[in-house]
């Protein structure tokens, strides 16, 4: 089920909310939790009920291993290693098996069959979340909770599908706290506020940019210079508004249940360096990569060379986490390399003007997203080729009187976005891009707005506008980009 669907907004969410608080109001707290777990599993199974046994088995296994790690002192390390290997094996089987076999075949000229398995929904998210739980249990950082609370920690539907990736220690106490079992209108107001913003970001903004991004990447070999830049920028905006919109919705829905989820985005495109970007983009994933890969590898404690190696390994694995493909791996490599360069640069004491730092950072991110978005390596190269090639330039007809002499150099004049901008919404492409820049650079993000929002008619009207605009745009339902990761 999608957050941005009629069935979720008008049926699932209100019914679950009402029934959950009703059970709590009659003192059936455990039953209410059981109901919430069941509702979350129903939410999960809506796409494909076949995925359900996988998440259930994973949950049961990790709960008991965590319990063992909490209580026993013998063979703890072996047990942790084994459990992590099994978790990663499950993920690898579904997500990476075909990728490895394809490359193995290519390398050794073999013809081993592929499995073409459908990726169980959210497997990357719930696997990482539970690995973190196991490591925390091993370190003695988890408290003892029963299976019901643990199940809620893993399956809680607002964050189940695409995060934020939450820590055991920030969720379990909230589920256990009795005061969270009562309706809290302050949280409901905040929840409605941020959910509406998220819905608007996803349905109105991201889905509009997706039209041009999809059109551009679908015809990658034929893009002219302007079209290639418009396609890549559209995807850059789409991805941000899509994923941060989803996170806002998740945070808002969780607040309705009195649960506070961690923020995941903090105006990432305002970043002035790549390090700054990773402190603002998908914060809970960055936190996971830092705590469970980078630091265990040695972090920055073993000298500069090891630090650089650790950064590269962490980001290449981060790239692979997003998808089984060389484009994702290369995207991770690019970010790792950029972080290494940034570290060397900072060590040398160099500083850039603020605007130049932003310009370089933003363009690097935009270019790297091309690899992230392209279906195939060739498509990425073709889009990038068009972005930086002067061989195929089309300018608007309106410029022909002043720049007509450029025709001698192969520049043509005409409909310069013919491949990606269809009539109608395409007429406003550049207005949208301009507004996109304004919003990402000069507006407060939704989490900042949530901190400062006042309960008055003005904000009620503003939120009602966003909510209405979001709901009436639901007719073009599309999935969240991060569902695939």
């Amino acid at each position: 089920m999608l957050f941005n669907s009629y069935e979720f907004i008008f049926a699932f969410l209100p019914l679950v909310l009402i029934f959950y608080f009703y059970l709590n109001s009659i003192g059936q707290n455990r039953l209410s939790k059981l109901f919430l777990v069941s509702a979350s599993l129903f939410f999960y199974a809506w796409w494909n009920v076949n995925y359900l046994p996988i998440i259930l088995a994973s949950m049961v296994f990790n709960y008991f291993v965590g319990k063992y790690l909490n209580h026993k002192n013998r063979h703890k390390k072996k047990m942790l290693t084994l459990a992590i290997i099994l978790n990663l094996s499950l993920l690898s089987y579904f997500k990476y098996y075909d990728f490895f076999i394809e490359n193995f075949n290519l390398l050794f000229n073999l013809n081993s069959g592929l499995l073409y398995l459908a990726l169980p929904l959210a497997i990357s998210f719930f696997t990482f979340q539970q690995i973190a739980y196991l490591v925390d249990s091993y370190r003695g950082e988890t408290k003892e909770y029963d299976f019901l609370n643990y199940s809620l920690f893993v399956t809680f539907f607002p964050q189940l599908i695409a995060g934020p990736i939450v820590h055991h220690k920030e969720m379990m106490p909230q589920f256990a706290q009795n005061t969270n079992n009562r309706i809290n209108f302050t949280n409901i107001a905040m929840g409605v506020f941020i959910f509406s913003m998220g819905l608007f970001k996803k349905v109105v903004i991201a889905d509009t940019f997706s039209i041009w991004a999809t059109a551009g990447f679908d015809v990658a070999p034929t893009l002219n210079l302007v079209e290639a830049w418009v396609s890549s920028l559209s995807y850059t905006f789409q991805l941000y508004f899509d994923f941060s919109g989803y996170t806002d919705m998740a945070i808002g829905i969780a607040l309705l249940f009195n649960i506070k989820l961690p923020i995941n985005f903090n105006s990432p495109y305002k970043a002035l360096s790549i390090q700054d970007f990773w402190r603002r983009w998908h914060i809970t994933l960055s936190r996971f990569l830092r705590d469970y890969i980078y630091i265990p590898l040695g972090g920055n404690r073993k000298g500069e060379l090891f630090t650089y190696t650790n950064l590269m390994i962490t980001f290449i694995l981060g790239g692979l986490w997003h998808g089984a493909g060389w484009t994702f791996l290369f995207w991770g490599f690019l970010h790792g390399a950029a972080l290494v360069i940034h570290r060397i640069w900072s060590k040398l004491g160099f500083k850039l003007w603020t605007w130049l730092a932003w310009f370089i950072t933003f363009n690097f991110i935009n270019i790297a997203w091309v690899f992230f978005r392209a279906k195939e390596w060739d498509d990425a190269i073709k889009v990038l080729g068009s972005m930086f090639s002067l061989d195929y330039i089309v300018l608007p007809n309106a410029l022909i009187s002043s720049l007509g002499f450029l025709e001698e150099f192969g520049v043509s004049f005409g409909f310069f976005c013919a491949n990606i901008a269809t009539s109608g919404v395409g007429d406003y492409l550049f207005v949208w891009l301009f507004l996109g820049f304004i919003v990402i650079l000069f507006f407060k993000n939704s989490s900042e707005k949530l901190q400062t929002f006042n309960l008055n008619r003005k904000t009620a009207f503003f939120i009602a506008f966003l909510l209405s605009a979001g709901i009436i745009s639901l007719n073009s339902v599309s999935e969240f980009l991060y569902f695939n990761f």
């Binding site: 209108f185 302050t186 409901i188 107001a189 409605v192 509406s196 015809v219 034929t222 007809n397 043509s412 005409g414 409909f415 013919a418 491949n419 109608g424 919404v425 309960l455 008055n456 008619r457 904000t459 009620a460 009207f461 939120i463 009602a464 506008f465 909510l467 209405s468 605009a469 709901i471 009436i472 745009s473 007719n475 073009s476 339902v477």
Partner: protein, 339 residues
Amino acid sequence: MKSHQWVKWVLFFTMINFALLGVVNYVVDPFKVFGSNFLPYQVQMNERFVKIEYIKKNHDKFNAYLFGSSRIGTTDPALIEQYIPNSKFYNFTVSSANLYDYKLHLEYFIKKQYPINTLYLQLDVDDMSIYGHQDADYLSKLHPEVTNEFTTLYYMKYLFGFFPMNTRVKIIDNMHMKKSKRRDIKKGTWSLASKEASLLKNCDEYVKNVSSFNTKHRRIRKYTTAEFSMKALRTIVKLCRKNNIKLYVFTSPHNQNKMDTFFLDDYNKYLRNISEITSFYDFTGYNSVTKDNCNYYEMSHYRPQVAKLIAARIFNDSSIAVPYDFGKYIEKGSMSGKE
């Protein structure tokens, strides 16, 4: 303000927004599904809905149909009727149609037992990989009776959907009373009187001013898959055979500029796919009709005079001089294995 009051205000304002939107959608009726007719000029419409509503009331007047995208919309039913005795054609052209539309509409007519003994079916090679329509495409939504959708839900979507572009277009059209395009719902056809006049007056001048004739096109029509379209075509052929419907299939004569957007291999594959299912008349390719821009309003839509040539070729009318290179009969299976 207290939190619960704020939440109530949000709900109140949201409902006001929906009410206002509903009123605007009903009054402007951007897709002509409510039939409110507050605005006099109603060219922008959901043809699929409007035509089914018309056929529901008038199906006894017809026994034959022209199916195709907007490109067949300039074909006068009388033109075909002259070749088929006792036929009464209705031009069921619908914009951006693909085989999804043809299959579902044919199934609907058969299910409803509307008289139908001839089907004149035009296929667009450039759209062969497209099957169906996006949910958000409200201009192309099929009638709820055709798709077995809940009628109330269908109307609710039109009442509470947000259609700024379509609303704007309808209002502007009515403000300027822009009447360049006319639809004849009784025949199902459309016409462009002012463009036709300009073409008759000075074709070269007209062609010079239409951007699609003067843009250098690149080959972008990739062969993806026509699997669904071919499956639908197979179903149509079977349905026609089963219900004694005489089926004429032909491909649109794409203007040379449109042809410039095809990859040759892909284009050939589509033709081969069609020939594996049925015999048909092929009017695509670079020929004396498609290479003459004066036969088109723009690179997508041909003029009524081309429709006459198509019919003359299909019905072997020797009284009309059809260019020798325009249209050839492709026997079923004759293209198999050919590259």
